[in-house]
Symmetry: C2
Subunit: 217 residues, 2 copies
Amino acid sequence: MTTRIQVAESVLSVNARNAAEVRAGLDARRIFSINLMASPGAGKTSLIERSVAALKSEMAVAMINGDTSEAAFDAERGQRAGALSVHINTHGKCHLEAAMVRDALEQLDLGQVKLLIIENVGNLVCPSAWQLGAHLNVLIASIPEGDDKPYKYPKMYSGVDVLVINKIDLLPYVDFRMDYFRRGVETLNPGLVTFPLSCRTGEGLDAWLDWLRARTA
Amino acid sequence: MTTRIQVAESVLSVNARNAAEVRAGLDARRIFSINLMASPGAGKTSLIERSVAALKSEMAVAMINGDTSEAAFDAERGQRAGALSVHINTHGKCHLEAAMVRDALEQLDLGQVKLLIIENVGNLVCPSAWQLGAHLNVLIASIPEGDDKPYKYPKMYSGVDVLVINKIDLLPYVDFRMDYFRRGVETLNPGLVTFPLSCRTGEGLDAWLDWLRARTA
């Protein structure tokens, strides 16, 4: 007689397997993908709008938008800017999971797509624990959020590959010590690639767009 | 022979019982308490600093600060402003729970305290599901976050008793349609008490402080 011990697989290891599956599918299609994370209102959708509008004559772009409710405003904004777009309702969950991305990809016609932007739920805590299969994790910090965020959300800041600093046009109107902010980032994530920009004025966007172009070339 | 069926009590009903215990303890001491929620960087700690500084000559104020890491900057800011202060490290959890508040209260000398402000983790999703035992749930919206937040975080906006709209000094520099924002709030939470203000300039703070005074009289 054989004794069988059932070990429940953790949800995170199931997620890691699903993420690997997503990645393999994207690689097979030569699609470069980013997982875009930020606080609510830091400018995820605005950055997607700007990026899609600037790049759509050069390449097809797809977006997957995760929100905690059925409101699909952000997916619609991406679509109006020119992206193929799918909305995911997480039904109150505070993050996207790889299985949600896998299911959303099945709803997209990926034939010509070269760039996929996954817009995560607005949250600086939960999304950091869930890999989605994207090639790079990109965090948007926002000037009016304050300069202490790296110190207060170290798990998020240490786990990302690229940092966008949005709303730099508001620097004259808020108390934001860029040195203090950057010191916090550098301690957690030395050498992190950073793009200071303003989605509102367009300042700094060219460097970000050139980076996306180089990644999708 | 009696068949016993064990039903695992849900974490939320355990939390509700702990919240009732917290509330009973506060009521016995005649302490008025608020659970302060917001996105990262919307101004929770700034509002606490302003409130404590303005009220400390009139009453003793305590704060409990929840953050996802050991960084106790916000609790220290509250303390410097004049509050009794305890930091809770949620160790990555995206919200406070009533048991954490109960344990934190044991570390405070509540003898003279009339007002307790609980600063939740910066997050517009998770905290809304967890009652802490506070008398009122207060949400801070922040102008630079954008006017679409009620539509995108309906569970948070519909579940609170008071709304502070912070950073109104930034209105001239961002695209924020106050009518659209207020319409979204009114649909979810009709008649919600609202305080537009700026922790930076001090504009609008008097109405908020008078409201706190009336509640603690």
